[in-house]
């Protein structure tokens, strides 16, 4: 039980760190394309680690399945959204950031 709690805490805190990195990136990065990079990190890894941390604590396999389903949906949404927005931004002539 102790090991389970410890593992769960480690995964959850790592996930929270990724969310923090995503928010910071969204605020600090200079243009749409770099912000897209920050956003997908938070989406995929942050939520993935959170789901992993909660899945070790879950009371039944059905709950684990639901958590994984949620993560899968967010992955799918994140990937398609990143592609669509990057392609749309290029198409509309939003310039790439140069130092």
């Amino acid at each position: 039980m102790m090991i389970r709690d410890f593992l769960s805490a480690v995964f959850l805190i790592a996930g929270a760190v990724f969310f923090l990195a995503g928010t910071l990136g969204l605020l600090r990065f200079p243009d749409v394309y770099t912000r897209l990079h920050a956003l997908t990190k938070a989406d995929n890894l942050g939520l993935g680690l959170m789901v992993l941390g909660l899945a070790v604590q879950a009371e039944s396999w059905a709950v684990v399945g639901k958590l994984l389903l949620i993560w899968g949906l967010v992955l799918l949404a994140g990937a398609s959204v990143a592609h669509l927005i990057a392609a749309g931004a290029l198409h509309r002539g939003i310039r790439l950031w140069k130092r």
Binding site: A16, F19, L26, R35, L39, L73, G78, R92
Partner: protein
Amino acid sequence: MQILYGALALFLLLNLGAGMWRVLCGPTGADRMLAAQLFGTTAVAILLLLAQAYGNAALRDVALLFALLAAVTAVAFVRRAWPNQEEDDDDT
């Protein structure tokens, strides 16, 4: 563990509040949409944490719904609501 769940949910909520800045002053519509997308994901994480903390399984279904709608909102934005002429003064 309950305290950790609560603290992390609060932390994510603060993240969400900080991300609001990008919605307010994002130069292009795409930036605002990205912030909204991050809000969606953060909301999913918060709901999952609260579902575990308070043993409320219904919140997991709400999170599932958020995850489903995240894709729809962004696709609707790109196909319908994104103006074709973006003012080109966003290279700060």
